[in-house]
Symmetry: C2
Subunit: 519 residues, 2 copies
């Protein structure tokens, strides 16, 4: 039967610091052990390793299918934005000015055997590397839009963008990152607003039903708005340390970019009008959310829908005779699960012990492992090992590991895999939701607020708010918290409904907002 030998980590793999000990280091350790990404030779830029990229590919597919189902088409716009174009929408330019990488030359040359930038190749106009593409896209839309018949335009772009960052963290904040940016053009404000909310809904759907991370949906305050937007909507998730992570934004841009780019259309009444716009985006940051929301002190935990490998089949044998029989059965199990449409990996690598293989697949977050040894063949059974099971208070690590294991007759086991994975997907969401509830408070006084963040670990605080931008700054200075979102009235839980007084200023407030520390 499956030998549960505890395997020493191989050289260069020093294990994982626990969350309790050092949450920040734990995050980096999980990434290293799962081989998701690493720092590169370029300050602030990461290399996304194959396992990390495979998760991104699955997530892309989930998002892209939903974008297409809501009528969007993909397109591609230039990496470069001429400085003069970037500068057209004033607030937008001001908002991104401090993080723009700029191309100024287009040639290298060799001087005394040293490769240098050729000073004679200076560009007449510097080119900004897109930090987002509104300006170049609206310059293009100008040529596509004459009348209301040309609207709506619903495009999306999968691309890399660059926002120069001084303090970076793998996936969560890097100078270059991968994302998608939707850009739409509409004949009416209503239609544009509907689109803005529709895409927020798509993001919330993916967050909850694919990433298994419950999110709050709502509006940002003026100070947190996208530079150039009239309204910014967001989804906010909670990480295991109680901090919020903004997981996606959807912007109603009004006519701002149409005006700065001069994009008018002839409406049904035959009058010239400026076009209404939206933009919306999510990025590789979502992989950071995934890690921080679900992983444990053993390593990465993946929702089955995003697992590049959903099931790892590990053969166990000692003698040559056992090897032949076990490998044959392992291959059969692999093939039968693959025929069910699952992503299965038969781990028949030589020279690695079963324990070393368990260690690797656990660290990489593979949801289900099937161990097959000579006794399993004899009994006609299979041993299914779940990567995680729901928490039971006070349970020992050994008891938990035992509970994660099921021995089932072969046919029953094979039929159980899909429902088990579905259940695990659901369990992850439930677990994350319960964790959020435990760290959510309805708070009415600044003293309780202070205690929540200073003594009780913090989390999401539903508080009444009627302050201004200066008051928001004060809260940030005193508690390192910010308003994560102004929820929709209908999404406010019963206990947090009704009018009240601003937690800081005491002014009357019609509705609570959600405050938290954030990444």
């Amino acid at each position: 039967m499956s030998q549960q030998t505890q395997q020493k980590p191989s050289a260069g793999d020093e294990g994982i610091v626990s969350r309790a000990e050092d949450y920040g280091q734990w995050y980096l350790d999980v990434i290293r052990r799962a081989q998701l990404a690493e720092h590169s030779a370029v300050r602030g830029c990461m290399v996304i390793r194959p396992h990390g990229y495979a998760i991104w590919e699955k997530l892309q597919r989930e998002l892209d299918d939903r974008f297409k189902a809501t009528g969007h088409q993909n397109a591609y716009f230039p990496l470069f934005i001429p400085l003069s174009l970037m500068a057209k929408e004033e607030k937008h330019a001001a908002g991104f000015a401090k993080e723009c990488a700029v191309v100024t030359h287009y040639r290298l040359k060799s001087v005394d055997g040293q490769v240098v930038v050729d000073p004679d190749s200076k560009l007449d106009e510097p080119l900004v590397i897109r930090p987002t593409s509104e300006t170049i896209i609206w310059d293009t839309f100008k040529g596509w839009i004459q009348s209301y018949r040309d609207l709506p335009i619903l495009v999306n772009q999968w691309a890399n963008i660059v926002r120069w960052e001084m303090r970076t963290r793998l996936f969560l904040r890097t100078a270059e990152f991968l994302w998608q940016e939707g850009h739409t053009a509409h004949a009416t404000q209503n239609e544009a607003l509907e689109e803005t909310w529709r895409m927020l809904g798509v993001y919330a759907d993916v967050a909850e039903n694919v990433l298994a991370v419950p999110v709050l949906q709502g509006r940002k305050t003026a100070g947190e708005r996208f530079a150039g937007a009239v309204e910014t909507l967001c989804i906010e998730g909670m990480m295991q340390d109680g901090k919020a992570l903004q997981m996606g934004t959807s912007h109603y841009l009004g006519q701002n970019f149409a005006k700065s780019s001069g994009v008018q259309f002839l409406n049904k009444e035959g009058k010239l009008e400026y076009v209404y716009a939206t933009s919306w985006g999510v990025s590789t940051r979502l992989i950071g959310a995934l890690i921080m929301a679900h992983s444990d002190d053993t390593g990465l935990v993946l929702p089955p829908k995003l697992a590049p490998i959903q099931v790892a089949v590990v053969p166990i044998f000692k003698t040559d005779a056992e090897k032949a029989a076990v490998l044959q059965e392992a291959r059969r199990v692999h093939d039968e699960l693959k025929a069910q449409g699952l992503s299965v990996k038969l781990d028949d690598r030589e020279g690695l012990s079963p324990g070393a293989k368990y260690y690797e697949w656990e660290g990489k977050g593979v949801p289900l492992r099937i161990e097959i040894g000579p006794k399993d063949i004899e009994k006609g059974s299979l041993c299914l090992v779940r990567r995680f099971v729901s928490d039971v208070a006070g349970e020992t690590d050994q008891a938990r590991r035992k509970r994660a294991k099921s021995f089932l007759p072969r046919a029953e086991a094979l039929a159980a895999v899909k429902p088990l994975l579905d259940q695990m997907q659901k369990d992850l969401l439930d677990r994350a939701r319960a964790a959020r509830e435990r760290r959510t408070r309805v708070i009415d006084t600044i003293e309780d607020f202070e205690r929540f963040y200073k003594n009780e670990g913090g989390g999401f605080a539903w508080v009444h708010w009627a302050g201004d931008a200066q008051n928001e700054d004060e809260m940030a200075r005193r508690f390192e918290t910010s308003i994560r979102c102004i929820p929709l009235p209908e999404d406010i839980p019963a206990a947090a409904r009704g009018e009240g007084k601003c937690i800081l200023t005491g002014k009357p407030s019609s509705q609570r907002v959600v405050m938290a520390k954030a990444y």
Copy 2:
């Protein structure tokens, strides 16, 4: 029955110049009419419009599936390459120096209301925007490779790259373009060489069986090699004007990049050795190949395997009663074809005549159109119109259009669609192959060579060659031709086999090469 009203092009769409009149302009006209791409506000950079991007997505899928089937995984490496890293492999740096866009600053600021590059944000080390990623990837591989157990590494990256170009042409040559670049690391020269040829084979397979463009496979001469490669292999297609287009390259890099990046591994004998490398890539240039190989004076022609819309269903009606019946039937036909796994578009747009719709789908290269009118419903038949039919000498345009149409009983028609599309895919390849044969000559004297290119339109010339780089330059000066590839001995057609004398120098030559003018 289908009304074949000749529709005037809408405003802004001035039709297409014929290939005979102006091949270069025809190419741009086809792209404009099919809405594949356009120039952007950034010199040399293009916008890939949704229809163009959808073709790229289908091509990506075909390539990516084959990369994964041959054991490769996707990953992502930084856009930026520090200048010092770029400079490490000398020949590589020299080869790309003249086309490198360089980031020198990372911030903008406002001076007297003008947005400018902040001179205080100058980078200590300039960053080159990747023109290709060998240097940054091998710098990363250094951390991944210690022993032969870590090999091979088989990764691929889908990315944008920038090569500063002075004379650009949509898809064929732009400053920024999209591509994939495979990078592999091996323990032995043999294994790396096998990989180099294997991926060339994958490219040839996609070119012929997906793009329907027949290609020659072979080696490049030293002068045409990738900067830093030991050997460059290529596939070369022929466009309708007889010019060659390099459609993909696969490089054997030897130990050059391992040496410049210091990547050694402990081999099975326990000795340190430098790692062997390959890299290989194809780009959005393939869409240019597609257009130039197949399209006609009406517009884009697409191989069914890459058509974002394979079948357009166009309803035809006059009265409201007809409309209801026709739309219902059109929807049914749409649904039944979709259930077959085909990409179908039901064109039920209001306010557009059927003729205008035909015009649009023909220009966009949709392989098959189904016209449905009241009489078709009455007869229980459908009218299938192919985008192209094989050529018949001397046929009038009207006769050809008639031949492209089939009236079939409904069930028969629906069953015929898939085989018809498969046949069209095959016909396109056959047509392109026949066109290439017509413009291919085995040539033995420089006089015949000159006549071929100056009087007979040119094409591929199989000639004996024993010249050096200077001789190649002379051929380029005199005839604008270059050696497109040195084919494998076994791929040389019977008529071109055997030894002979170099067409320029008269020196003995053991094998012919293929010369042509090229894009």
